[in-house]
Amino acid sequence: MTLPSINYLALAPFLVMSGTALVLLIATSLTPTRIPRRVASTVAVSAAGASLLLTVIQGWQIARHGAQLTAAHSVVMDGFSALATASISSSLIFALLIAHDWEGRERFVGAEYQMLALLATSGAVLMTEANDLAVVFLGLEILSIALYVIIAFNRRRVKSQESSLKYFLLGGFAAAVFMYGAALVYGATGSTNLSTISYFLSANVLVHPALLWAGGGLMMLAFAFKTQAVPFHFWSPDVYEGAPTPVTGFHASIVWGGAFAAAIRVMISGLGTQSDTWRPIIWGLIVLSTVVGALFAITQVNAKRLLAYSSVTHSGFIWLGVWAASPRGVADSLFYILTYAPTVLGSFAIVALVGGVGDSDHYLKKYRGLARRNPWIGGSLALLLLSQLGVPLTVGFDGKFAVLSASLDAGNVTASVVAMLAAAVAAFAYLRWVGSLFAEGDPDVAPLVVPWASRVVIASSVIVVLVFGIWPAPLTHLAQHATLFFQP
């Protein structure tokens, strides 16, 4: 018997993250006292930084030797996986820094949070480089199971546990649906390997495609659930509101990175030959997500619920690039994820600060006059919100412009127009929030105290939004080189 050869460089970011998580877990159970917050955060941030460096080495290797399949063709290292992993690793650094301050406020000690965050992220990383439906499933579940626990992390808040239970039940259901879809695709094509599936489908014409279509449809349902696309978004406002705020930021950046990367791999690398069949479904997801997300965002009075519906709209935009099913569409979707992650993490860093101890109050009226009390924080939040709205000279504009032009190039005029109109409607929700930041506030409210870790996150996200908003060329260039290993 011969074991499959493994290129450890391809798996290195995953191994660093899950390995550090296990070290933290063992250290937690062996040390008599709880691990100080500072030590845990330092270890976890170093692991995330190491994985970011490893993606640079991966990128250099890919540029020299091309993309590589490894571990019996079930894992792929290509430009797409390297860039998505880089995005996820840097999001993890941001998310850990937000959580560092949050844990200080809530007086949590120990390394459990950092451990779970690293584990969940390692699952997302595995999803970006999966070339086999079983590996997609494994990544999805490593990500989800750690996420269920981390959402319920705040023991003193009933909402935290309640939202975790809701997410757990629906997440387990979605995973089972995904796997049944994978089983049907396996039956129709004879393999769970995405490249083999693709070769099989391009070389053969199925007499009875119903099995394949049912399987693909079920898998798409699970991806729509994970990426909060309407009509599978109904859990997201509750989970966004109930989860501790650092976890909400984690969700909107890292979980999305993994879920969209896996969706792109399965739908384009694996089932790309069937794009005429799945395009109408994605078209429906785009139209519903952008419109429903925008309409509900307007009516929200809670900041976290508003951001939940806003991310539903953003999900519709990212699906626009997937619909195009072209190398350019994939690059533009990746560019959107890459730029949306720091924007949303910066916003949630500020939401966590304003929410105060115990995540008690996230109502929008609490933001009234924030820019007068804390000019820098208020101004940063205004900028981050304007970027999510898609104002020119912010990175949000470049992202929207990229996916819209890719989708128009592919001939998807109606959905692009609907998405643009929906973005205009959603603008109202953001502008109302920005307006209240600069309004005359209650003079009795004391200015916020901003700890250093949150400062770093907010400042870096503002820099990303402004610098790449004005000069997006380096990022678009990177995204265009981040092609999929295989695309029919």
Partner: protein, 101 residues
Amino acid sequence: MSVPASWYLVLSAVLFGIGVYGFLTKRSVLIMLMCVELMLNAVNLTFVTFARTLSDIAGQTVVFFVMVVAAAEVTVGLGITVAVFRRRRTTSVDELTEMQG
């Protein structure tokens, strides 16, 4: 006399359907959890059946992944359910109305 493969596929589809129906209609967290398990076992049966008709070992190995993941998922799920039950004295999803989504 051997049972044709299509029977197994129909059986697993029926099991999956029962799981989906139960998940959507029952209100107890524990029963919903059992329904998810039923769905995952239907998945396993489908994989094994296809692995046999295709004479391919890969489908059978996937079953091990599914079983391990299902066990881990139940462990975490029961933990969360117990945590909620300690606070609220209920496992019915209808009474979990702290937030209205």
